[in-house]
Structures are given as C-alpha cells and as structure tokens.
C-alpha cells in the first residue's frame, strides 16, 4: 500500500484515497503551436509514455480530500515517493538531479527552454 501526501491540502492517506493519473508533464503539442503539429508529435502525445525502472514522475489527484491534481516523483522499484509537488511545478532540483534516461533528457530540455524564455 502506498502512502500518499497531497501537497495542496496536506492530507495523507493510503493510495485508495487518491487517484493515479498517469505520467506527469505530458504536454499537448497543439497548445504550443496548433498550426504545426506533426502526426508524430500527436502520436507521441496520445500514446507514447516513459516506462522507467526507477525514478518516475506521475500525476495524482487528492480524490477524497481537496480534489486537486498534483505531481509526485516515485521510484517504480522501491515504490518510495521522493517528492510531492504542485501541478504547475517542476520537481525539486535534487529530485530532477536523480532523474535518468528519458526523464533526464526531458528535464534538461525543459529547463533549457525555460532559461531561454
């Protein structure tokens, strides 16, 4: 049983009080540039997900609490939660530093884009 803590209202409980909402940080390509969305981009957005062994980033909802969505960083091997953070936020820097593979690539790209903006 996973023990989840909502970063919005502070409610802590087992996973049945929450709702898992799949992979975090999936961005809809059409919201950036609706006129130029390739089939590949749209396919990746709809169907392609990261499935890591180890640190993963997910969306959760405080289903039986405040009702808000939030993000969680969880290890898929040990099931340990590394962080809970807001739905519009990136994970804490020390957790991003632990990300590997596709997630490391994703955050590097995202942080670079935010620096440029």
């Amino acid at each position: 049983m996973l023990v989840v803590k909502c970063p919005v209202c502070g409610a802590e409980g087992d996973e049945t009080d929450f709702h898992a909402g799949g992979q975090a940080h999936v961005r809809r390509p059409a919201s950036h540039d609706p006129a130029h969305v390739s089939d590949e981009e749209q396919r990746d957005y709809l169907f392609i997900r990261i499935n890591p062994k180890g640190l993963h980033f997910e969306r959760w909802r405080c289903d039986r609490g405040c009702g808000k969505w939030f993000h969680a960083a969880r290890d898929t091997v040990t099931l340990e939660f590394k962080a809970f953070y807001g739905i519009t936020e990136l994970p804490p820097a020390d957790v991003i530093a632990e990300a590997k593979g596709q997630w490391a690539e994703y955050f590097a790209k995202r942080l670079k884009a935010e620096k440029q903006a």
Partner: protein, 200 residues
C-alpha cells in the same frame, strides 16, 4: 401545477435493535455549495458580509455555530450548513453580496443524505469503512473532511467527541445506512482500540 416536496432517501428506515451506537438520519439540514478563491479578498469579505462569519481557510476545519456552520471542502470550496427552511434566504443574501465576484453558490440541500452516528465506539465503527485514523488528534470537534467510506465518497464531520455526521450522496444513502447498521452490531465490535475514548 406540480409542487416540489422534500422526501428523505431514508424515509421510513429505522435502525435495527442491538447496535453499539445510535443512528439516525438528519433530514432538516439545508446545504449550500460555495465556490470561490480562498485567496480573493473581495470574495472573502463578501461572504463574511452575507454570513457574518469568516470562511475557514485551514484544510479540514469548520467555522460557525449549530445554526450556521461552514465546512471546508477544498481551497476553493465550502459547504454551508443551515436549517433547511433558511437555505433560500441565505443563498439569496450570498448571491447578492457576491455580485460581480468570481464565485458560485448553489442550494444543494437535496444532494446529500446526512447520517448521524453517536455514542462511545463510533470512531471504531466508522474506521471499519475508512482508512483514516479517527483516533488521531486531528479528528476533534469541528474537524471535517472528505473520505472514502465503504468504497463510496463521503464527507465526515466531527460534531462532538462521540458524535459524527456522515454525508453521502443521496443515491448512496441506503447503502451507507445498511453498511453502518451491519458494522455497528454489538457482536461485531472489534475493541481493537480499547475503550474507544475520544482522542486527547
């Protein structure tokens, strides 16, 4: 012309004999769903003007008196409890105070059924249906929270140390009632937690 009438979802249902807690439905409760931003000063002061009390902003708390109580449901949602006969009047006052403020107020008095569970050991009975630790100091009078109870969505309000109100959506009322009746039978007491006093 047809006329609206209030019919309780638990009309005619009485608790079976031999329960370890006392059980009844509260039917005369008016409920108003209020939404707005808890960080919006205009919203907060308009509500205060209409209700005469501050909205509770701390998660899982409530404010007010027996006649008019506001339960915190979320950072942007509250449930106002009042006598059923007063709901229309309070709703009108709220709506006029909130004119021009981004908000929503709706009479939802018929949306939920309220089951009152009373007596020593009622925390133990409720804990058969939820993963919450109701012996935690957080669950003292005035505390309220939504929870998963007997696999359905419910709202729990601690009225007094051994008095709890459980709000369930109307269509689940009979199921929730039957669940409590089954789990509250005297022979079904588990006494895992000793005397089951309210948390200190």
């Amino acid at each position: 012309m047809s006329e609206l009438s209030h019919e309780s979802p638990l009309a005619g249902v009485t608790p079976p004999p031999g329960l370890s807690v006392s059980l009844r439905e509260i039917t005369d409760r008016g409920m108003i769903d209020l939404r707005g931003h808890g960080s919006d000063q205009a919203f907060l002061s308009a509500v205060k003007g209409a209700l005469g009390l501050d909205l509770p902003l701390r998660p899982r708390t409530s404010a007010g008196s027996d006649d008019l109580r506001v339960l915190w449901l979320s950072m942007d949602q509250w449930l106002i409890l009042c006598p059923r006969t007063k709901a229309a009047e309070i709703l009108a006052a709220l709506r006029s105070a909130l004119t021009g403020v981004h908000s929503l107020a709706v009479d939802v008095s018929d949306m939920r059924a309220v089951i009152r569970i009373e007596g020593g050991g009622c925390r133990e009975v409720l804990m058969k249906g939820t993963s919450l630790d109701l012996l935690d100091a957080e669950y003292r009078p005035g505390c309220c929270r939504r929870m998963r109870f007997a696999e359905i969505a419910a709202l729990l309000s601690v009225v007094e140390d051994n008095v709890f109100d459980v709000y369930v959506f109307r269509s689940y009322a009979r199921y929730a009632w039957d669940f409590v009746c089954a789990t509250a039978r005297e022979p079904a007491r588990v006494r895992l937690f000793g005397a089951q006093d309210a948390p200190a």
